[in-house]
């Protein structure tokens, strides 16, 4: 990864640079409203700026970035081991689908290694891989990657990928002051979305999430989909947009936006998978 050393936004209007400098100071002071938000509001009738007021200044210290990276690493450990075990079991995965899962497995392992490198590069030590329980504390009793359990394997894959998308999305704001970490996280985030869509389609579902539907997944996975039915985006209620009804209504409106999950929500989802 090449990181250009000049300060970001160097070529931009000096006023913006001043704003940024002022904002750094405010963050250090723990201020809840930055002057860049004030500048946005000054631009006029921009409803989206209203939502920026309360949340702009949270979580950008280096320790916060490391916390995000370690959290992402835990999720990637879970996915990487899941696919490695699946791919390693002869006869579990339908032969016709094998390329899909070897592709995803390779990606998750690369993600693990990339996150470990990022953490190390920041002078910290990557957390060790924990032991996992892929029965989710008995919710999927008897699941052990055995031949004949392909449907359960695919269902779990969908659950993990849809979780991964929401988890990265929820953590991205905490990386806002670390462009290298943010770029890496965003480039993984969208790959998880590609995986999710592919597995959903493989299971005969739409590639996107409609409302808060978990489709045919077991009830204990509902937390992965709660809140996906949100239609209030950046201060705009989607149902008020022109052509809403003729353009797919609530189903399309909720599909068009993936929602974030907080770290606590993701932790609750994956805790059953920790041995």
């Amino acid at each position: 990864m090449i990181i250009e050393q000049r300060p970001i936004l160097e070529s931009i209007d000096p006023e913006i640079l001043d704003t940024l400098a002022a904002r750094e100071h405010e963050i250090a002071q723990g201020a809840s409203v930055s002057s860049s938000t004030a500048a946005l509001l000054a631009l006029g009738s921009i409803p989206i700026a209203l939502g920026a007021l309360s949340r702009e200044a949270y979580g950008q210290a280096p320790s916060d970035v490391l916390d995000v990276l370690q959290f992402a690493l835990l999720l990637e450990y879970l996915e990487a081991e899941f696919y490695q075990r699946g791919v390693a079991t002869a006869g579990l995965i339908d032969a016709a689908d094998r390329s899909i899962f070897t592709t995803i497995s390779a990606h998750e392992t690369i993600h693990v290694n990339a996150l470990r490198s990022l953490i190390t590069a920041k002078g910290s030590t990557p957390n060790a891989k924990p032991n996992f329980d892929f029965t989710a504390k008995g919710n999927l009793a008897g699941f052990n990657f055995a031949v004949g359990q392909y449907e359960t394997f695919k269902a779990l894959a969908m659950a993990f990928e849809d979780t991964g998308v929401r988890a990265y999305k929820g953590q991205a704001p905490r990386l806002i002051n670390d462009a290298a970490a943010l770029s890496a996280a965003l480039s993984i985030h969208s790959v998880e979305a590609r995986h999710a869509a592919e597995i959903r389609r493989l299971r005969g579902k739409k590639g996107w999430i409609s409302g808060s539907s978990r489709e045919d997944l077991p009830a204990f996975t509902q937390g992965i989909y709660n809140g996906e039915d949100n239609q209030s985006q950046g201060g705009v209620m989607l149902s008020t947009l022109p052509g809403y009804g003729a353009n797919g209504g609530a189903t399309a409106a909720t599909e068009a936006f993936d929602e974030p999950l907080t770290k606590a929500e993701v932790t609750a989802i994956i805790t059953p998978f920790l041995a």
Binding site: M1, I2, I3, E4, R6, P7, I8, L9, S11, I12, I16, L20, R23, S36, T37, L40, G44, S45, I46, P47, I48, G51, A52, R55, E56, S99, I104, H107, A114, K169, P173, A180, L182, S183, A184, L186, S187, I188, H189, S190, V191, A193, R194, H195, A197, E198, R201, G207, W208, Q233, G234, P242, G243, N247, G248, E255, A256, F257, D258, P260
Partner: protein
């Protein structure tokens, strides 16, 4: 017209443009040159009642300026421009369903994506408020809206570009709320990209060709998008610095 236009059509694949006989006659009427090689002749379709607007050339229209001195607003405007392009593309795709050779599954997917992209466009238009006052004029040189492979290939181009664009714009966003909003949209674009790629190359690695998605700087995105935009796109005060993503190709 200072230059004589030329169309060279070496094979039927080149006829994947909405260039009908009427358009070719127009070209000849202004003194242009049509080079139609033998392999193309069999595929030269008649007008069949489907509206085939004359293809306007990219980068020949009015200036369309996005001024990054506006900060986050410019990033949203940039997104709005791309979503206008995508929404227009899929609307044309859906409107051509009756005459295209798309499968029922293709159409189901593309109908959904059309909905999503129109919602993205209308959402950004509303969110931008007074800063939404510009309209992109798209053009699709080389795209045949009646042909499955042509449509899906173009769709893949737009979706992959959209993903790389949002991923690359992230580092310029100063509001965490805007960053989250961009994240909410980009993963849906990535879902689209995967599904479209899988329609083109089922059950291969095409749905996610690399472990990291591309992260493109705005000027690289604008150059790619310009091939489908009549307006002359320019980015004023474009950020001079860019932090590469893992693929190091932005």
């Amino acid at each position: 017209m200072s230059q004589r236009p030329t169309i060279t059509i070496p094979d039927a694949g080149m006829l994947a443009t909405p260039r009908t006989r009427r358009d070719i006659l127009k070209l000849l009427a202004v003194g242009g040159t049509l080079v139609l090689l033998p392999a193309a002749l069999a595929a030269c379709a008649d007008d069949n009642g489907v509206t085939q607007p004359q293809t306007r050339q990219p980068n020949t229209g009015s200036p369309l300026i996005i001024d990054f001195a506006k900060g986050d607003i410019a990033v949203l405007q940039f997104a709005y421009a791309l979503e206008q392009l995508e929404a227009d593309f899929y609307t044309k795709v859906v409107n051509a369903f009756g005459s295209s050779n798309l499968t029922a599954d293709d159409k189901s997917v593309l109908q959904d994506i059309k909905y999503h992209e129109v919602i993205h466009r209308e959402f950004l238009k509303a969110a931008l408020g007074s800063a939404n006052d510009f309209t992109v004029t798209p053009t699709y040189p080389g795209v045949n809206f009646n042909d499955r492979r042509s449509v899906l290939t173009a769709a893949k181009t737009f979706e992959d570009l959209g993903v790389a664009a949002y991923n690359g714009a992230g580092q310029y966003i100063k509001s965490t709320d805007f960053l989250t909003l961009a994240g909410k949209i980009v993963s849906v674009e990535a879902r689209h990209a995967a599904v479209i790629s899988d329609l083109l190359s089922p059950k291969t690695s095409a749905f996610a060709p690399t472990a990291f998605d591309d992260v493109f700087r705005p000027s690289k995105v604008a150059s790619a998008a310009q091939g489908f935009i009549v307006d002359k796109v320019s980015l004023n005060n474009a950020p001079g610095t860019f932090v590469q993503g893992p693929n190091n190709n932005g």
